[in-house]
């Protein structure tokens, strides 16, 4: 998947959970990624974060440590 597409999809998820009340947004993003993203996609995300996480929402970066 192109990095832009992955970043877009991950940020969409973060945007939703950011709008939700509560304190555990990062965990909920991570939970969503664990439940619905195939390991290859999660690996790609983590690799992208390792390279600086260009374009990713901070919440995704926080969540990526937990996926």
């Amino acid at each position: 998947m192109s990095p832009e597409k992955m970043v877009h999809m991950a940020n969409q998820i973060a945007t939703f959970f950011k709008s939700q009340p509560g304190e555990d947004q990062a965990e909920r993003v991570a939970g969503h990624l664990r439940d619905f993203w195939e390991p290859r996609m999660r690996e790609q995300l983590k690799a992208h974060v390792a390279k600086g996480g260009d374009g990713l929402d901070d919440l995704v970066i926080e969540a990526s440590e937990r996926v």
Partner: protein, 968 residues
């Protein structure tokens, strides 16, 4: 196999009533019926058939033929039994000599204006006029022609004085049925069926007295040019050969019938397949079908000819490369070719390098086997279904709020509703039989709110008009739904009692605070959504205060970047107003294809096993691990768009695609093509060489719904039987093909064979592993006709209504629904918004319906554009136009109409030569990756004809469909 006994489907004469019991005596027999029942129906209940012509139980009685007269003690004259309601203690005589005499006289008159060509008439043996002539003992017709003249009649083309001005020739304009005015007895059953059952009002009786005749549309119309939508209700109601299926004219009357289920849309209509030997004579909607109650639409009723279309591929085919022509081979060769390629790919690229796509058009048993193939033979979770691209957000959204993705009601529920919201759905085209049932309820006084960018037919059509139409800008569903909730909450119109007892009160408070924010008010969002605030407020008030409120929605809700959020917003609205858990209310996803519900239930999604249980849960995996003797991967697999991405990346190499044409139906055609082209083994299992097959290496011929046993689950969770009425032309039912492929692969790897011999065994396995199906067996379905899941020990007869005493998840959950604009934005290059949909006569990618006479109604995809936008671009009706987005471009003809708002254009995706999806983008729902089909920024400009891309595509398609002549 056991015989399936067709329950009583006699014509009872007039519709059933509900009411207090009334007891009366008919011909000496006491009978008790509900108040309001006609004497005719009461007699039928007692087993006495009163002769009749103008009455039939699908429509209200009209009382015009006077054949059904009876005598009632204490009443004067001879009232007609079809229009006379029962009364307590009534004493009725249906066979006195007086009424016999009247009936004979009536019949004599009818027959005097009717041709006596019974032996060669297409309705011979299936004609109520014939039956009644027999029943009343008509022996001669005493009317004679005056000397030198002819008897005044409608049926002789010529008489002695030349042309008979009363004679009208047959109208053969409809491709499926004929109208022969010379045989019409003017009973008006057809007119009433078109009004009451279908709700189209296409027919009238023109003229008076002896001059009167049935007419479709106005004087210059024939059936085809009139408003008729070819549903067949009038044909069904006609007692004579006047309205007659062309197939019966051609083949003769059927000799047996088998009850089965329509394989087109999610309404799931029951039909009687009427047969001569193994030839299908006609499909007749089945009265006892609980989804359709005897009605149908043009697709299920008539569009089955594709089953024998010459394009059908009947032999397996393989090829080394997709640039080679196809080679016909034996099943053995095709399967071992496929199996060794797939296993080879797994050896080279890893266990997760191959996957499956199941189709919502296939039966539950088939989709169950296909996901089992992925999980237990491929040993991964790479299974997805085309529901990904339509209703996956329903699964997520309703799952989060209510605890299950299931629609909450049955279709009968619409009869109890007072206010209906239809959002992002176009039922008269997409779910026609439901639309007819809805329109009936609207004519009886229920109110309608339509939320749709287009002025769909329901907004205003014969005798139906929406109280409010909110023509929102595509992509702003969440803003509109939240503004509705804002109005309900800030004006204190919510149902506090319901919320306190049934929902999580704390969550409600957070939610109420969120929606009350002035930025969610209709006034604040008007500029964005283009929905006038006053209209939106009025709609919200109506929904909250108008009695039973029901919400029906379709793909206009789900196929957006915020599809899942809108679904949650809809669930919020239902909970706010206390509209869950009883008849007449609820949240009702209108599923696109016949078995969308079922394919999701059967565990086709990559993250969940059958029954919506996540693969991460060890206790769930254990159930299947024990049943299948394998270990199951605990990680979610790839979804369809992810498979294509992975293919382009080089990590996904092989696909078994059953009954689905992803190249035509999935968004961003070029990306799909690139993904398919990058795979090394694509197995297409289908009826036809579809578009996806252009990129396939193995083609396994499929069977039609007429050729196999199984079940479909419709939008109301109703499990309906599909019954085999003829042998598969390709040799195997589809579940057998999947089993053969599984066994071929298991042979390679040394696993134990699958050994199903009948789909009922597959259903037994489903029941044994999936709690919501625990009680389902083929025996139960044969006995009850159909059953709605959950069906288990707690609900042995199934569950028509969900969440009656409490939500599936316990307390209903309000979820904050923040509007987020889609990133698909209009701008100078692409200033218009494209939204897509479908038409009544065609189905999905059109593979089936395009191969029937239905194309007469829709021969090509056209682009609907507002006059204002057309004028700006110098476009005229029927012009070729270029439709371009950042993904691609195509060309099609323009249709200028005010149904779409300025700034919005609309088209369908039924035809591969248009390929609307070359234009749609890869944006998708945030939660489920359901593609955003409904919003694409586009530009429209004049064009000379098909685009270069279309021409290249057509050339490639032709090239890749070559089949080598079979070896001598």
């Amino acid at each position: 196999m056991k015989d399936f006994i067709i329950p009583d489907d006699r014509d009872m004469g007039t519709p059933a009533r509900t009411g207090a019991p009334v007891t009366l005596t008919i011909d000496g027999f006491e009978v008790t019926v509900p108040e309001g029942t006609s004497v005719m129906r009461a007699a039928a209940e007692a087993g006495i058939s009163v002769p009749k012509l103008c009455a039939t139980d699908s429509v209200e009685a009209f009382g015009s033929c006077r054949l059904c007269v009876v005598e009632i003690e204490g009443r004067r004259g001879t009232p007609s039994s079809c229009t006379t309601p029962v009364a307590p203690g009534m004493v009725v005589h249906t066979g006195s000599s007086k009424v016999r005499k009247i009936r004979r006289g009536v019949m004599e008159l009818y027959i005097s204006d009717h041709p006596l060509d019974c032996l060669t008439c297409s309705a011979n043996g299936d004609c109520e006029l014939q039956d009644m002539a027999g029943a009343v003992g008509l022996r001669d017709v005493r009317y004679t022609a005056p000397e030198g003249g002819a008897l005044d009649n409608h049926f002789e083309a010529r008489n002695t004085s030349g042309e008979n001005h009363r004679y009208l020739p047959k109208d053969e304009s409809n491709p499926y049925f004929t109208y022969d005015p010379s045989k019409c007895i003017v009973c008006s059953r057809c007119v009433r069926a078109c009004e009451e059952v279908q709700g189209t009002f296409a027919l009238t009786i023109e003229g008076r007295g002896f001059d009167s005749r049935v007419s479709a549309g106005n004087a210059l119309d024939d059936f085809l040019s009139s408003d008729c939508v070819s549903c067949g209700a009038c044909v069904q109601a006609c007692p004579t050969a006047t309205l007659q299926e062309k197939s019966v004219v051609e083949l003769g009357t059927p000799e047996r019938s088998v009850v089965t289920t329509c394989a087109y849309c999610g309404v799931g209509c029951s039909f009687k397949a009427e047969m001569q030997g193994d030839t299908l004579v006609r499909m007749v909607p089945w009265k006892n079908g609980k989804a359709n109650r005897g009605h149908s639409c043009v697709k299920g009723r008539f569009a089955y000819g594709y089953a024998h279309h010459q394009d059908r591929i009947l032999n397996p085919m393989i090829r080394e490369n997709i640039t080679d022509p196809w080679r016909e081979v034996s099943w053995d060769e095709a399967l071992s070719f496929a199996a060794s390629r797939m296993r080879g790919l797994q050896e080279t690229y890893g266990q997760k390098s191959i996957g499956v796509i199941t189709s919502s058009r296939c039966t539950n048993e088939e989709t169950y086997l296909v996901q089992k193939l992925a999980r237990a033979v491929f040993m991964n979770n790479n299974t997805d279904t085309c529901a990904r691209v339509c209703h996956s957000p329903t699964g997520y959204g309703l799952g989060q709020t209510f605890g299950t993705s299931a629609g909450t009601q049955d279709f009968d529920s619409v009869e109890h509703t007072d206010v209906v919201i239809v959002i992002g759905a176009n039922p008269t085209d997409g779910h026609p039989v439901f639309a007819s049932r809805l329109k009936k309820r609207l004519r009886a006084g229920a109110k309608l709110i339509v939320i749709d960018p287009r002025r769909i037919d329901l907004v205003k059509s014969a005798h139906v008009e929406a109280a409010h139409h909110l023509p929102l800008r595509p992509g702003t569903n969440v803003a509109v739904v939240t503004a509705l909730a804002h109005t309900i909450v800030t004006e204190k119109l919510y149902d506090e009692e319901f919320i306190r007892t049934r929902c999580d009160w704390d969550e409600f408070q957070a939610y109420a605070e969120f929606v009350s924010d002035p930025r969610h008010s209709p006034e604040a969002t008007e500029e964005l959504t283009r929905v006038p605030a006053a209209e939106l407020r009025a709609a919200a008030r109506l929904f909250a205060t108008g009695g039973n409120g029901a919400i029906y929605y379709g793909l206009g809700v789900t196929e957006h970047s915020q599809g899942s959020t809108t679904v949650m917003g809809i669930a919020n609205l239902a909970m706010l107003t206390g509209n869950v858990g009883r008849p007449g209310v609820g949240v009702n996803p209108l599923r696109g294809q016949n078995n969308v519900q079922g394919s999701c239930d059967m565990g086709s999604f990559p993250h969940e096993l059958p029954g919506y249980r996540h693969v991460k849960l060890p206790e769930v995996r254990k159930i299947f691990e024990d049943a299948w003797g394998v270990s199951i991967d605990p990680e979610p697999g790839l979804r369809i768009p992810n498979m294509l991405d992975a293919a382009v990346d080089g990590t996904f190499k092989g696909l078994y695609c059953q009954g689905e044409d992803i190249l035509q139906s999935d968004p961003d055609t070029k990306h799909v093509a690139a993904g398919l082209a990058a795979m090394e083994c694509v197995i297409v299992h289908d009826l036809f060489l579809n578009e996806t097959a252009n990129y396939a290496h193995v083609f396994l011929p499929g069977s039609t719904f007429l050729e196999k046993d199984g079940t479909f689950t419709n939008a109301e969770r109703r499990i309906n039987r599909v019954r085999k009425v003829m042998a598969p032309m390709n040799g195997y039912s589809d579940w057998e093909v999947t089993q053969l492929l599984a066994n071929a692969m298991l042979k390679e790897s040394g696993g134990a064979n699958w050994t199903y011999t009948h789909p009922s065994q597959i259903m037994d396995e489903i029941a044994a592993t999936t709690p919501s199906f625990a009680g389902v067996t083929y025996d139960l379905l044969d006995e009850k006709g159909s059953v709605q899941w959950p069906c288990n020990e707690d609900h042995p007869d199934g569950t028509p209504l969900m969440h009656v005493d409490g939500f599936m998840r316990g307390k209903g959950r309000f979820i904050v629904t923040e509007y987020v604009a889609t990133d698909e934005k209009t701008g100078p290059r692409f200033p218009l918004l494209l939204t897509t949909g479908r038409v009544l006569s065609q189905y999905n990618v059109g593979a089936q319906t395009r191969r029937t006479a239905n194309s007469i109604w829709h021969g090509e995809d056209v682009l609907e554009i507002h006059p204002h936008d057309a004028e700006n671009r110098g476009l005229h009706e029927g012009d070729w136009v270029k439709l371009a987005s950042r993904s691609g471009e195509t060309a099609l003809r323009a249709h200028i109409t005010e149904r779409v708002a300025p700034g919005v254009v609309y088209t369908t995706f039924h035809h591969p030569d248009t390929q609307a999806n070359v234009v749609t983008t890869d944006f998708s729902d945030w939660a489920t990756n359901c593609p955003e089909y409904k919003v694409t920024a586009v530009q429209v400009s004049a064009s000379n004809g098909p685009s270069e891309w279309q021409e290249d595509y057509a050339a490639q398609a032709e090239q890749s469909r070559r089949i080598l002549p079979a070896a001598e």
